[in-house]
Each structure stands twice: as C-alpha cells, then as structure tokens.
C-alpha cells in the first residue's frame, strides 16, 4: 500500500512489459523445456540441447563471433560516441548540428538498410571498386575487423546520446577546484570530468552492447558475401529452415539473454558503489565554446566523418536506386528514374504497404509513448520493489532479435482460448502494433528517463500537496516539463518502427503486406534498384513526416530551465 498510486503504476507497468516483452520471450525459451506446450503436447524437451552450443561448430562459431563483435563494437563505439559527444558539447563549430541530425538518422534507420548500403559500397562489384577504383575495400571490410568497424559506425549513436545528455549540465566548481590545485586542463579532464561521466559512458556502452549482440541486419546482409554467423543469425536459421526448430531458437535466445543480463549486471555493479548525482543548484547548462583556430579542422573532420557514416550506407541505397544496372557504373545513360516510376505502377504494393506501415508505427509511437512514460516514471521516481526488473525488460527488446519476439508473439497471441475474448490478435494488424510498441519501448524509455532525471521529485510532490490527482500531476507538471523529450521519443519510435523488418515478416496478416516486407521481398528477388528506390521513398516520407511534426509541435522560445 506504500504510496498507493506508485505501486499501482509499478504493477501495471510490469504487467504491460510482461505482455509485450516477457511472455513472448519466455514462450520461445520454454520451447527448450516443453517443445510442444503451445500445441497441447506435454513432453519434455531435450535439455542436452543447452550444451550443444559447446559442441556444434556452427553454434560455437556464432557465440564466438557474437561476443567478439559485440565486445569490440561496444569498446570502440562507446569511445567514438563518447569522444564525439564531448567534442560536440565543448566546442562550437559549423556543421555540428549536422552531427546531431546524423546521429538520429543512424538511430532510426534499421540496421538491414544500413548494412545493405555498406554491402553495396564494399562488395567486389560495389561502388567503392566501380566508382573509385578502391580495390582494397572489399577485403578490408569483409573480415572481422572490417565488420567491427561497420558495426561501430552504425551503433555509436547510442553512446553519443547517452554521454551528450549527461554533459548538458555541468558543475564548473568541480573542475575549477581541480584547476586551482594546479592541475593541467587535460588532467582535470582525466581525473574529474571523465570519471563523473563514467555512468553515462557505461550506460551508453550497455546499450551499444545490447543493440550489437542482438543485431540481425548486419550478419544477414553481409552473409551474402562473407560468412559471419552470429547468435541472432543462427536463431534466424533455426526458425527459418525446415524442419523448424523453435527449441534451438529457444536455446540460442537463452544464451543471448544470458549475455545481456551479464552486461547489465556489470553495468549495475560498476555504478553501484559510487554516487554521481553531482548536479547541484550550481549546475549550469553547458554552452559550447568557440573552437577558434581549430574550428576549420573540426568542420572538415566532421564532414569527412559524416560522409562515411551517413554517406556510405545511405548513399549506397540512393545510387542503387538511380542506376539502371549496378555493374555499368556512373555514366549518364546508366542513370534512370525507372525504379521510382515502378513504385507507382501496377499494384502499387509499395504505396499500400507504406500507408499501412505509417499507420502502424504512428499508433505504436503514441501507445508506446504512454508505456514508455510509465516505465520511465517508475524508473525515475518510484520506490517500486521490482524496479530493476522493469528496467531489464524495458531494454530486452533492444537485444532480442525481432524474429524471436515475432515467434513468441505467435505463441502468445494465437491461443484458441483468446478467440472468444476477441484477443486472438495473431493475423490482425493490431499484433503488428503491439510488436512495434515492444520494439519502441527501449528507445522511448532511454530518452524519457534522461529527461525525467532532470525534473526534481519535489516538483511533483509540491503538486500532490496542493491536492492534485496523479493524472493531473502527470499532465500539468511532468508532461510540460519533458515536452521536448516526449516529442523526440515519439518521433524516434515512429521512425524506427516503420522499417522494422524482422517482426513484420513473421507477423504480417494475410493480404497485409507492409513496407519493410515489400522492400525485403524486392531485395530477395535481386530487384536492388526497386528495393533501393522503395527505401529512399519510404525513408524520405518518414523524414518529411518527422520534420513536419517537429515543426508543428516543438514550441520555440519560452526556454524552461529547471
């Protein structure tokens, strides 16, 4: 009964997360123990399967690759993102805003599109070789180190955002005190500023780790050229090769969840012993200083960097969409808009799919926002007993491959007894919305927790003592104070779920093809031009919608400082 509403919201949040994330995941993992449980069979599974990971060469290799890829990417991505964030918040230079925009673009663009772009660039007959004659690119990229680099360049935004958010406010006193002790600026940074940012770095690292280890797009796209099986890829193979082995997928998912839990534990213990709520009334917003003579250098470096991280993956898609054939290279008679024209011809599968995808991700963004805000509230303000579990399950869907959740959704939402309740959602568009919400929760929660951390609890307590209800406190105090973050979270969730392939491909209802399914089908049929044009058009429309909403809803001026 402690702080009644707090417990109530704690429990309801747990329930929602359980339905959206935990049950589907558990449904897949339970296949290991009871393979037929959802088909009315009660037989015990073969638990030896759990040990197979140390015996089967493919699984061993997958585990090894996953760990190598995730650990290296985590280290490099966190460093890259963290350093970029520090440069960005300390110095002012032209094109800095472009960096922010690119980070968001990378975050929203699904990894299969990014990876396709990299493949188009780096393949033997790719743009690097064809247009620039860089024969070394294919061998440089298609090897473990190259893949780690591609992954680092795709996943660093999570670390960037985490560190950047932490640097939004600073307490000059702490550094000033150190400077007055006669210590050099660099040492101040190393001994004072960097350690204070440690939690942000670790939080970023944990996110990068989870997103990388659960990534399916890269191994899937790269597999066409270079064999690099990872856990998600092997899960995919178990689920997508006849005879279908859900129990094997369950085993591999189990190990994946184990790895994620381990990473979260590590992060928890690293930050547990130290308290870092150093923000006091003395905190001032960080305002970047002029970079002076280094401004030009920073600008040039930034542009080169952006050309690589954005230019290559998105440029690859763009070029592919206007080339008649890829092998003919860049010449005037090889340029065509016919792929774009094809989108609007015939059955217009793509446009219908796009409309559906927009509708689904729009609903998912708004509903996901409600859930995400509840989760963030529980994590930020409540004393709810199972808070840590809420946190774990709010992140799990980042790391668990979409196919696993997708299969889990079928198990959970395709049970006969749900039919009379009208809840047999499998086979209905609503299930795509649910799955998209599950996918959007990590992004929304991360953004909202960051924003809520800056709203002191006493502002809410004050309203409560004024006699206000919980809903009103939420509506009149909290929401206006985190409005900006709400918008960012909703838009990020919207953008990222439009292209969410994995879940869509397993769950789309009859006669209800969505955008990513259509695009993927074109990729599979080797209609690269069509697929790329569809990606460009779809992505363009999503970006226009995001910009429009941003313009309409983001209120300028009236700076609110807390």
């Amino acid at each position: 009964m402690l702080r009644n509403y707090e417990n109530r919201i704690g429990w309801s949040t747990s329930l929602i997360l359980a339905i959206l994330v935990m049950f589907p995941l558990a449904a897949v993992i339970i296949q290991v123990i009871l393979p037929g449980v959802f088909f009315g069979e009660w037989r015990l599974g073969n638990l030896n399967l759990l040990l197979e990971i140390f015996r089967r060469p493919l699984w061993q290799k997958s585990l090894e690759n996953s760990i190598v890829l995730a650990v290296s990417t985590t280290i490099l991505g966190t460093l890259l993102g963290g350093i970029l964030a520090m440069i960005r918040s300390n110095w002012r230079f032209p094109t800095a805003k472009l960096l922010d925009a690119s980070v968001w673009m990378l975050l929203i663009t699904p990894s299969f599109i990014l990876s396709q772009g990299w493949v188009m660039f780096a393949a033997k007959n790719g743009f690097a070789v064809q247009l620039f004659g860089w024969d070394w690119v294919p061998t440089a990229v298609f090897q473990p180190a190259g893949l780690i680099m591609v992954m680092t360049l795709s996943k660093f935004p999570l670390a960037y955002l985490s560190v950047h958010a932490a640097m939004e406010w600073k307490v000059d006193q702490l550094s000033d005190a150190a400077r007055l002790c006669g210590v050099s600026a660099l040492r101040v940074w190393r001994t004072i500023q960097a350690p204070l940012l440690l939690p942000a770095f670790l939080a970023g690292a944990a996110l990068v780790f989870m997103d990388t280890i659960g990534d399916f797009g890269l191994p899937a796209s790269i597999a066409a050229i270079y064999r690099f099986p990872t856990l998600p890829y092997s899960i995919y193979t178990a689920i997508y090769t006849s005879p279908i082995r859900f129990d094997m997928a369950g085993v591999l998912s189990f190990y994946l969840v184990l790895l994620i839990s381990f990473a979260m534990l590590l992060q928890f213990y690293a930050t547990r012993s130290s308290r870092y709520d150093f923000l006091s009334a003395r905190a001032v917003p960080t305002v970047p200083k002029s970079a002076g003579k280094y401004g030009v250098l920073l600008t040039v470096l930034n542009i080169i960097f952006l050309l690589v991280v954005i230019g290559i993956p998105l440029g690859g898609n763009l070029l592919m969409s206007i080339f008649r054939t890829q092998s003919a290279g860049l010449s005037l008679d090889n340029l065509t808009l016919s792929h774009y024209a094809a989108l609007f011809e015939g059955r217009q599968e793509l446009l219908i799919g796009l409309r559906r995808s927009l509708l689904i991700s729009g609903s998912a963004a708004i509903l996901g926002l409600l859930v995400g805000v509840m989760v963030s509230y529980v994590l930020t303000y409540s004393t709810f007993r199972f808070k840590r579990w809420v946190e774990v399950f709010s992140l799990v869907s980042l790391a668990v491959p979409g196919v696993v959740l997708g299969i889990g959704y079928i198990f959970v939402w395709n049970q006969r007894w749900l039919e009379p309740l009208g809840l047999l959602l499998y086979g209905k568009p609503a299930i795509l919305v649910l799955a998209a919400i599950a996918g959007a929760i990590p992004v929304i929660t991360r953004i909202m927790v960051g924003a809520m951390a800056k709203v002191p609890r006493s502002l809410l307590d004050a309203a409560q003592l004024q006699g206000d209800s919980f809903i009103n406190r939420f509506r009149l105090i909290l929401v206006p104070l985190v409005r900006g973050a709400l918008l960012s979270a909703a838009l990020a969730a919207f953008g990222s779920s439009v292209f969410d392939l994995a879940v869509n491909s397993i769950l789309f209802p009859p006669n209800y093809m969505t955008l990513p399914v259509t695009i993927n089908k074109a990729f599979e049929d080797l209609n690269f031009g069509y697929a790329s044009a569809a990606t460009v058009v779809g992505g363009g429309i999503v970006i226009i919608i995001i910009l429009l909403l941003e313009l309409l809803l983001r209120r300028k001026g009236r700076a609110v400082s807390i």
Partner: protein, 378 residues
C-alpha cells in the same frame, strides 16, 4: 498550553531505508495553532519525519493522526493530496513552466473555486507576501527571496490544516534569512497557522518556534519551549547544538549545594538537569557552556603571568578558571578570543576589547550557565 485535542499526534513512529534506521520510535503531540520547529543536523531523521507527515513516505511502524484521524500507519496510508497539509520545499519546487499566478493558483483550481474567487485569493496572497507586480513572471526570473515568498503563498493558498516547512530559508543569504524568519514568524502567528518546521539552524528555530523538537539519530533528545531548551539543554549534545560550544572535562565532586566538577584545582559548580543519574564522586564528567557566559574577573600582570602553570594550580576560587589568550578575532560588536587552560583545553570567550596574546586571565562562570553531563562510554 491548551488542553484541547491535539491537531497532530505521533506515536512510536519508525522508519528505515534499507539498513539505515532513520527514525527509531518518535512520539509527540502538536496543538492547533502551534509552531513546532524540528531541529537537528543532517541525517538526524528530521526530513524523514516531515516526509512521513506529508505522506510522501509510509512509516514502518507507529501511527500519525491528524485531527483525530489516522493518516499514516503501517497498514493505512492516506495519500498526501487528501491530508489537507501543504508544504514549502527546501528548493521551493516552483514549477518552472508556470508563472507566479499559475503557481499560486494551482491548488485552488483543483478545489473547484470560481474564477473570481481564485483571482481574489491569489491577489490577497500576492499582497500579503509583497509580490505585487510579479504575477506574470516565471520562477527563473525571480530572486531567491521572491521565489521563497511565492512558495509560501502557494502553500498558504489551499488553506492547509497544517503547514510544513522544509528548511525553508537554507537557500537564502544571511540578511534575507533573518528578514524572512521574522516575517514568517509574524505571518504564521497572525494567520493562526499550525506549522511544522524543519531546520538545522538554531537561530531560525528560536525565531519561529513555540516549541522545539530536537532530534538526534532518529530519536527525540529534547522537546520544549525554545527558552527551556536554551536554558536547560537536556543533553550534552543539545547543549552544544544550542551554542554551548565550550567544553571542559573534570571529575565529579559532590558539594553541599549540589554537584560540581574538579578541573585542575578549581571547583566548578553547575546544573545537572534531571538528576536521575548517578553522580558519584570521582566519575568523569564534562561541563558545557557558552562563550558569552564567561566573565573576565581579572587580568594578571605580566610577572604573574610568567608562572601560568603555577597560578592555575594555586587558584581555588569557586567557578573561576585561569586561562591564557591565544588570539582574538573581531566580530563587529565584540571580540572572540581563543583561550587555553593549563591542561591545553581550548575554548572561546567574548570580550568587548581585544586581548593581547599570552595574557593570562581569570574568568568566572555562574552556576546556572554551566551544564554538567556525565561522560558516557560510547
């Protein structure tokens, strides 16, 4: 003190956070129209007590009743918004996105008052707290003192049965602090408001309170009027909290007129509070007193001063100590001097003139200002 039913009753209240025990069973009553200041250092549990009364945390044990109704116990928990209490927060907790008017009127809107009634009430408060002309300002555009006044106005607006003040003046500078505490004491008394006030500043507590509640380590050390607490501190710890910062150790000696302490050759008679304890001869004890209660009786000549040690041995005037001046600092109205006894114990005394270092002097301490406490083996 009135004998009517108390407004707030607190019985055996306990609360812990993990392994940290914030409150260890607290009981007291508070009457209608009374101002109680809870005084104690940080970590003594005073903020927890306030949170419990406000309803922002639930007790582990014990009971809180407001106007005879149980508002919090282990089993029952009335939500804060239903309790009819309001609070001025330490950092004011003004909503940065609302202007002064909106901040103050926030709770009134919830009470379903008419527009005009709200307008009237807010203007009345704005007037009362000298905030005229600031209605449209946003909190970040106000000075610290103004923010404080808005916070008070906001808390008063809902006409709470009980007003809670959480270190309300700690964010203000010294001058404003003195101004505001006088003003608040006047305002709340004039309004007949029941106020539960938490602070770590004794001056603030003295200025505001009808009664003081001194908390230490989750327990009540003393409860009483400010004058009682000031003149009869119930513990060594309360004494030092309330300004008796000088302390000297000695041996207990029973005299005809009561209990005294032998310090060197001096016998120092003092107050023993509730003498339930065993004041046996020869046990170790300590005397605490305020610097301003030391009166210089004579300054010794330089030749006498040469033999400081010897003099200290010889002097056997009751309640008089021999000491040597180390240095003095100017405090405006008077000088604060750091002095040392022959055994090296240092203490402060106040004098209207500076004293030369190394001057040796005799100073007396009257019995009523000397608070004696046995040394407990902690």
């Amino acid at each position: 003190m009135s004998t009517s039913k108390p407004l707030l009753e607190i019985r055996e209240l306990t609360k812990s956070f993990g392994s940290f025990q914030a409150l260890l069973g607290i009981s007291f009553d508070m009457h209608e129209g009374e101002i109680i200041s809870v005084l104690g250092p940080s970590g003594c549990g005073k903020s927890t007590l306030l949170q419990l009364v406000a309803g922002l945390t639930q007790p582990d044990g014990g009971e809180i009743t407001l106007s005879g109704e149980t508002i919090a116990s282990r089993k029952r928990m009335m939500p804060p918004e239903k309790r009819g209490v309001n609070m001025v927060f330490q950092d004011y907790a003004l909503w940065p996105h609302m202007n002064v008017f909106d901040n103050i009127s926030y709770g009134l809107k919830h009470q379903k008052m008419g527009r005009d009634a709200i307008q009237g009430r807010v203007l009345e408060l704005i007037n009362m707290l000298h905030l005229d002309g600031l209605q449209k300002r946003l909190p970040p555009q106000l000075s610290g003192g103004q923010q404080q006044r808005v916070a008070i106005a906001r808390a008063l607006a809902t006409r709470p049965r009980l007003m809670l003040l959480d270190e309300p003046l700690s964010n203000l500078d010294m001058r404003l602090r003195i101004e505001m505490r006088t003003e608040m004491a006047y305002l709340f008394r004039q309004l007949g408001m029941s106020v539960f006030h938490v602070t770590h500043d004794p001056d603030e507590a003295f200025a505001m309170a009808d009664r003081l509640l001194i908390l230490r380590g989750g327990k009540i050390d003393q409860i009483g009027t400010p004058q009682e607490c000031y003149s009869k501190p119930a513990s060594r710890w309360v004494a030092s909290l309330l300004g008796a910062i000088n302390h000297v150790r000695g041996e207990v000696v029973r005299t005809a007129s009561g209990v005294a302490l032998r310090i060197g050759s001096t016998i120092l008679e003092g107050n023993v509070g509730e003498s339930g304890m065993a004041w046996t001869d020869g046990s170790q004890a300590e005397v605490l007193f305020r610097p301003e209660d030391l009166n210089i009786t004579r300054q010794l000549s330089l030749s006498e001063a040469e033999d400081f040690e010897g003099l200290s041995q010889l002097n056997n005037v009751h309640n008089e100590l021999v000491m040597k001046v180390m240095y003095c600092t100017f405090e405006g109205k008077r000088w604060r001097c750091k002095v040392e006894l022959a055994d090296g114990t240092s203490m402060y005394l106040l004098h209207d003139q500076p004293l030369e270092p190394h001057t040796v002097l005799c100073a007396s301490l009257s019995k009523q200002f000397a608070y004696l406490y046995l040394i407990e083996e902690d």
